[in-house]
Structure formats: C-alpha cells, structure tokens
Amino acid sequence: LSTFAQETTFTKGNKYTIAEITVNGNTSFSEQTIVTYSGLRKGSEVQIPGEEISSAIKKLWNSNLFNDIDIYLLKVEGSNAFLEIRLSDLPELNAVKITGVKKGKKETIIKENKLDKGVKVTENLITTTKNYLQNKYKKDGFTNAKVNINTIEAVDSLPRSKVNMVLAIDKGKKVKVKDIVFTGNSVLTDSKLSGAMKNTKKRNFLRIYKRSKYIEEDYKTDLTSIIDTYKENGYRDARILSDSLIINNDNTITLNINLEEGEKYSFGDISFIGNTVYTDQQLKRVLRITKGETYNGVLLQERIADNTRPDAEDLTNLYQNNGYLFSTINPVEVNAEGNVIDMEIRISEGKPTYFNNVTVQGNEVTNDKIIYRELRTRPGQLYSKANVVRTIRELSQLGFFDAEQITTDFQNPNPNEGTIDLQYGVIETGSSQIELQGGYGSGSFIGTLGLSFNNFSIKNILNRKAYKPVPRGDGQKLALRLQASAFYQTYSFSFTEPWLGGKKPVQFSTSISHSKQFLYDYTTGKADKDKRFNITGISVGLAKRLSVPDDYFTLSQALSFQHYDLKNYNTGLFTFGDGYSNNLAYTIGLSRNNTYNDPVYPTGGSNFNVSAKLSIPYSLFNNVDYAALSEERDEQEEIYYDADGVYTDIQSTNAYTRMGEIDQERYKWLEFYKIKFKADWYTRIVDKLVLRPSLEFGFLGSYNNDRGVIPFERFFLGGDGLASYSLDGRETIALRGYENQSLQPVDEDGNVTSDGGSIYNKFSLELRYPITLKPAAKIYMLGFLEGGVSYNNFKDYNPFDLKRSAGLGLRLFMPAFGLLGIDFGYGFDSVPGQGTAVSGWQTHFIIGQQF
C-alpha cells in the first residue's frame, strides 16, 4: 500500500488579465465604488481560480454592506478575462414593531438586541434575537414562550432597501410546579429530597424568596443534587430510573421522579499507593476518614480535592503546597464485598516543580521593582500554592491594584523538567486621593485641601514628562494637607518610602507640620491675631518588617520633635500664657498584620499594634528639684484659689504668675511615656458577613511624680475619632454614640476636666456586610456595639465602667476619595458634666478613616 499527497487544484489556476469588471444586482452603490472596494483592478493580472478573487469576495463581505456576493467569469478572450460581480445590498432596518409585551419592556428589548434604526438586517441578527428572547423567557419560568420574527420590505422614496421588523412575542403563562412525586425512596423522605432540589420548587404561596418555576437546565442540576444527597448518606448506587413531566390543565406541571436507592455502604480499608514523599500516616491524617464510617463519596472527593475552597486542607493541597504541581490523586474502589468498600488511593507524585519565569502583566503605572519585591514566588523556588495565594494577598494590600482582579496564569508547564512559568495579572487602580472641602464651622469658614498620592515617584518630581498628572509608580506615599479658617491654620507634609535603599523592606517616613491657632475675641467675634498658639513639628521614622517570630511582624521606630509656642494665649488650659514647650520623643512600636485580602474590606486575619512613646527622663540629671517646685506650686495654688479669703488680689495674681513660672519650668521639655495597645480580628461568618471585634488601651504616665503627667499627648474619647486640627499630640479615640471628644474624665473633686484622659480603654464589636465590592466603589453596611472609658489616673481606673453605645452605619470607598461613611450611634450612658440624660442618637460622618 502506498499513499499519495493530494494535489490541490487551487494553486493550479491560470493567469489572466482583467479586461473588464461589471457589477450587477440590487445595489445603491456605484459600480466604481464596488470595484474599488473589491480590490480588483482593470488591467491587473489575476489567477483564476486564485487568491485575488477570494480576497475580493472577503473584502466585500467585510464591508458589512452586501448580501449574496458572487464573482463570475463571464468569458475569456485569449488571456483576457471578463468578470462580473453580482451582489445585493443588505436591507437596513427601518422600524421595529413589538407585540405581546408591555410598552416599557419594548425599549429594553430593542436596546439589548441592538435593533436600532439603520442596522443591517442579516439572518444572524434575526436568529440571535429570537434565541435570546426565547431563552430569556424560559429562564423566568415561561417555558412555553414563543417568539416570531417577520421582516417586511418597507417602501421608501430612497433607493436603499429597507425592512420593517415585526417581533411577535407570546410569553404564555408562567409554568409552576404543582407537585413533585418521588417513587422508590424509603430511606430519605420526600421532603428531604425536594429540599435537595435547590432550584426547582413546588408551588407554595408562603415561599416568596424563591418562586416556583420550571427551567429544564436547573431541573437537570437538581436531579444530580438528589443523587449527591444519597451519596452523602452511603447510598453510592442510587440512581434516577426515570423522570417524567406531566402538563396539567391549569398551567402547572407535575414532575414524577422514579429512583432506586440501592444499598448502604461503608468505608473499608483505605490504602495509599505511590506515595514516597508522605507516609501513609501523614496522608490519613489529612484524609480524616476511618474504616467503618458510612460511605460518603462527596466527602471523599472533598478530602482529596475540595474545589470550592482553594485553601482547604485536602490531599491535593498537601502535595500542591509542597512543590508537587504535577501530582495526581485518584481514588479507586478495589473491593465492594458485603457493602464495605475498600479504597485504594493512587497517587502519582510527579517531579517536584520549580518556578522558572515569574512575570507580572498589567502594570502600566507601577514600576517592576515595586511589584517584584513583594513576590513570594520567585524563579528557582519550589512551587507552592500557599505562596501564590499569599502573594496575591500582599499585592492587593499594596493598594495600587484592584484587589478583586488579581489573576494568576500558569504557563509552559513542563512535567519532565519539573518547571513552570507563572504570570500575575494586575489592573492598576487610581491610588491618589484628593480632599477638597469648604464649609462653615465654629462660626467661620473652613477650607481644607488634602492631597494624598499613594503610588508616588519622588525621583521624577523634576521630570516634566512623568506628570500624568503626577509622577507615579515608585510605591511612595506623599501627602499634603492645608487647612485654614479664621481661627486656625495647619500645614502638613508627609512622605513615605516603603523600601529605603531598595534592599530590605525598611520603611522610611518623614513629616513636617505647622499649625497656628488664634484666640476668639469676644468683643469683635473674630480671631484675635495677637493671641496665638503655634505648634511646629518634625518627625522621622523607620519601620522594618521582621522575620521572627513570623514575617507578618513589623518593628517601627520614630524620632519626633515638636515645639509649642504660646503668645498671650491665656485659656486656663495652661497657667502660662506666654511661653514655650518642647516635645522630643522616641517611639517604638511592634505590629502584626495578617488581614486579607482587600485592605478596604478584610475578611480574615488580625491586626495587633503595641507601641511606646518615650521622652528623655530629664529629671534624673538636670538637677532641678521638682519636689520643691511641686510643693511651692501647691502653696501658690492655695493662695490663688484663696478658699478662706485671707489674701489680697495682688497676692493672688502674683501667686498665679509664680504658678505659671513653675509650670513653664515643668513643661520646658516634656517628660512622659505613653503606651498604647490595639488589636482587631476579622472573621468571616457566612458568605461575606464579617465580624470584627477589637480592643484598645492607652496609658500616659510620668517618670517623676513631682513633675506630673503632661497636659499634652492625651487621649480624647468620643465621637467619630477624626483627628482634629489641634496638633498638641492628642489622640482622638472614636466612640460612636457620643459627641466628639465629650467623654472627659472626672477629677477627684467630681469636676469634669477638659484636657483629656491619661488612661483609656475601648471594646468594640462590629458586624459588616458588603453591598458591592466592585473596584469603582466598594460599599458595605455595618452594625456595631462598643464601649469605652477614660480616666485621669491609674488609681481610679476601672476598665469596665464603660460608656456604651450601639448603632448602624454605611461605608463607601471610592479610589479617588478614599473612605467616606456615616454612622448612627445610640449612646446608652450619660456624658460627664452634662447631667444624667443619656447621650442618645448621634450622627457621625467619617472621612478617610477606618474604625
């Protein structure tokens, strides 16, 4: 036997010169246009049959203007060919008439099927429209829906051919399921079986969330679910013998399902074959199925490979997470005697797989180095599914990419070499935020301009070309904020580089700020520019990711300096109106954050934070006798308050001046230590419902009791927790259901103080549910229960004497604006200094901050 290559006649065409091309057919286009369009030219040489002719037909088709396109060879004279193009114009749609549906629906039908005036009416258009509509009605339970499409030539003065379309829709009645009759079942009850049918339900007017309807496709899935239910209960032979559909007179149907249950099985011996990396014992521990258990095919499948959860503890993941990408695991029944099934789990481990190329695609803004340094899957590394998952998580936490759309693409798998390429796909999101506010508050106009660029590139700041609209792509953060009103002005600038030097994740940050406050002039109702309080600050910090105890830990250190400058600023807050104070402090903090995935809406993990802010203990070596000063101050204070009325006014004023002098000495360089702790946990309860308990604690202390606790750096509890304009180091702690910073401690005399607490704690429980997590806008609802308390000294401190509240809220995150939100909180307790009435309902607006 021998075979011959087939000869193709196509290439064997003869060469001709085109002598003439004519056009025939029902068309409004000129002959010249059509010939030009075809690409054929008089006088040119063509092969017939040949490529030129077929490409001419193709070109005419591609114009989407013609129908029935043919090219004929009319005659041949010597080497001259006479061609004819025959075609007709496609008709245009003139008008659509739709019958059988409500007026409002007609427009949607036209829109969905693009039946606009002027479109070319092709067979394809008619068929797809018809199928689309029929399927759509079937999906809504109108099993008997019929759609008919007719086209009628429209008479028009123009020579173009036009058609009118008539869409006749007959939805028919919605078909409901009257009854589902099971026969052959004895182990599982009817109701259990119909419960297993998730889509097809019997008619029941009480059930409003899922109406009864019959959709063939869903019904088929339901039949599979019935069998799965049996499988879960040990009946692995269960099958549907037959099922029938009976159409009743009253537009309902009855479904008859006839099944055979078979016998109940249980697991026998389970043995593993082909495993060299893991011992039988190790595999059994993951499988968690023992001899004698009711046979459950579904569970067995899940323990081998759970397709619903990528991070499940199953055999496949055991291999996948340890480099065995090409491993396959197959359970085989080897013996089923006496309804006991012996299983053999056959494992083909394959070679351990290493990453070859790891690439990233889609970073149109962000530079490679910013992304590649975050990768936990590097070339030459053993394949690990867990590392892939963690990389995705960490990439999404950068905030430069859409967290919901990070993809992985495995390419060029090579089981022989044991290598694979991995490509991450990212989609850039806008990570700059602009805050522009103007409003009327505390009697004057307040304007705020805030700019924050989260993916800044400082090295391109002088490169004009990089401004699109700002230089981006180096993962740095730059924020500017200006706020001004008649009473205060603040300017702040901050910059953060997450990988200083590019060798290690050492985050460098610096900030400079300056603020001015003026006193209120009661006579004019305006700001008194001669009475002011200036604060200037600068800070530099370094934060380092640790690898011990695990690599979610970060150690941060910062050095900060603030200079307070008072001029004629007599408010009673300080005993000296003219003076200054310096705050030089070192902060050290340790945090652990393994929340995932989306930083806006974490669904798991926890976040711990502990920090200490310390000043130099000046009093140890500056040779100032603070005990004497403290004593003197107490004496002067007695004179000043003059409870018995024995001192003159002048004496009292002098005493106050002396107190100021002493306080100036005490606060020249602030001496303090501050300890804070904060923790929150995220747990997914069901679906995307997330529970977030949190607790926090803060304590401000002094090294030297005679110097006392400073009036700066204090904790202000209550309200939305948004940092206020005051830069005296105060910490505003949110506690919804109460007015901003209203929960002030009470001193030993029962008076409410106004300069904040030196110790506080807070507990909070929040339940969150997302409405949408689309990249353009993420919205979630929340409900909360919380309580907090603040005190002025440790002696009185009772962490459970809480001010409690509860409420509801909404958060909206848009990439360009950051987080916005509103909370309605009800405070169950009274506010100190405001009588016994409970705080009641309070509304809080939240900007750019997460509770």
Binding site: Q32, I34, D368, P379, Q381
Partner: protein, 254 residues
C-alpha cells in the same frame, strides 16, 4: 470667520478636503484631522479616498495620537495594498506602536507588539529605505526588554539579604543569559550569577554544600572563559580560591 471654521461648519466636502490639506501642509494637524474625520465616510469608495485616508492617518501621527495613527495606517494598508504609500503607511503604523511602548520598567505588552510589527515590516520590505531606521527601532525595543529582565534579576540579587533566596537571582540570571545571548549586560549577569551561587555554596547547609560548590565553580569557569579581562576578575579569583579550599574537604574525605 476663518476658512477652517467655515469649512468645519459647512456642508461642502470638497472645500473641507482642500482646507484640510492646506492646514495639514501648514502643520496644523489637529485641525486638519478634524476636517478629514468629517469627510472620511463621504469619500469612501471614491478615487480621492486613497489620498485622504493617508493624510487622515498621518495627521493623527503628526498630532502624536499614536494609538489612532497606528489603527488608521493599518486600515490604509489593508484597503490600498497596492498604493505607492503602502510601504510608508506600514512603516508608520509600526513606528506608531514603537511610540506607544512605555519605559522599560512597566508592562511591556506594547513593546512586544511593536517589535513584531517592525519585524513583519522588515520581512515584507527588505529593500525599503526605512529599513535602517526599522532595524534601529527594533534594537532599541529589544534593549528595553533586555534591561527589564536584567533589572528584575538584579533586584533578586540585591534583596537576597532579606529574602535569603539565592536561587531566585541564579535562576533569573540564568534565564537572562539564555534569552539575551548577545547582551551588553551579559558580563555583569554572569558575574552576579557567580556571586549568588558562590554565596549560596559558601553559606550552604552541609547536606547540599558539595553540589553547590561544584555548581559555583562551573559558573566561575563560564565567566572566566568569556571575560578573562573583566574588571571583576580579581574578585572572581578570590572566590575560586575559597571554593577550591572548601572543595578540598570533600576530596580528602572520599
């Protein structure tokens, strides 16, 4: 009322064409482009359409809208494959994609596209007057991909103290050397690969040490064979000494 405004708001397609061409010749590409855009459909199929389409595409190109320029040049060359301007159009289309290629440290999808298009052009018109420029552009684009691959590998090398992952640097320089055989950066790549392998071997756990020492030595040999006069040569000599010192322990043992 300028002739441009008149033509823009008028109905006369012939005057739109002439005014447009005039503006094009004067270098007012954006205005010309707007006029051409208006009359493109009307001239469809007419003999003047060939010239118009080219000017239309070129006005995008000159106005630096390379995305649309590329598209319009492509349309031109598929519609008029026999035109005398077809070659120029194909070159400009390829050059438009070259213009769209971003800096090397970002996504290089456009760069690969441009290389492909330029390559097709070079293959189709091997005698083109644009050939030299096309080759130049391809070279430049290849250089980008090369620099990108090198930088990524170099970052693995640089961050090794943090990642403790010498293999990432070794493997990615390996891939780089394989993929860009004629690269200017080859010397450095070979050296960094050697340096990574050397450090991995010297600091290795006992179990894998011998194998790694041997591998590092083989990287040394491939470096020295090629770059005997390299500026790194002294450093590599030191490495070799240490490697051999360590290797002695294994040879005496056996």
């Amino acid at each position: 009322c300028s002739p441009y405004q008149k033509a823009l708001n008028g109905d006369d397609i012939a005057s739109k064409f002439t005014v447009g061409e005039d503006l094009y010749n004067k270098g007012k590409y954006l205005k010309a482009n707007r006029l051409f855009e208006q009359i493109m459909p009307q001239y469809r199929g007419k003999p003047q359409a060939e010239k118009l389409s080219f000017l239309y595409a070129d006005s995008y190109y000159k106005a630096k809208d390379y995305y649309l320029a590329g598209y319009q040049f492509d349309r031109f060359s598929t519609t008029y494959p026999k035109s005398v301007k077809a070659e120029e159009a194909e070159f400009l289309s390829a050059k438009s994609s070259y213009m769209l290629s971003p800096m090397y440290s970002k996504e290089q999808h456009a760069t690969k596209d441009a290389i492909e298009k330029l390559q097709v052009f070079i293959n189709t018109y091997p005698n083109s007057p644009y050939l030299e420029e096309a080759n130049q552009l391809v070279k430049e684009l290849d250089g980008k991909l090369e620099k990108k691959a090198f930088d990524i590998a170099y970052q693995y090398y640089k961050t090794v103290e943090y990642t403790r992952d010498y293999n990432a640097a070794i493997k990615s320089f390996d891939n780089f050397i394989f993929e860009f055989p004629g690269s200017k950066l080859r010397e450095q790549a070979l050296f960094y690969r050697l340096d990574s392998a050397y450090n991995l071997a010297i600091n290795s756990v006992e179990r894998k040490k011998e194998e790694r020492l041997i591998k590092a030595k083989s990287y040394y040999l491939s470096f020295v064979n090629k770059y005997a006069n390299s500026e790194y040569i002294d450093k590599t000599k030191d490495m070799l000494e240490n490697l051999e010192e360590e290797l002695k322990k294994y040879s005496t043992k056996s």
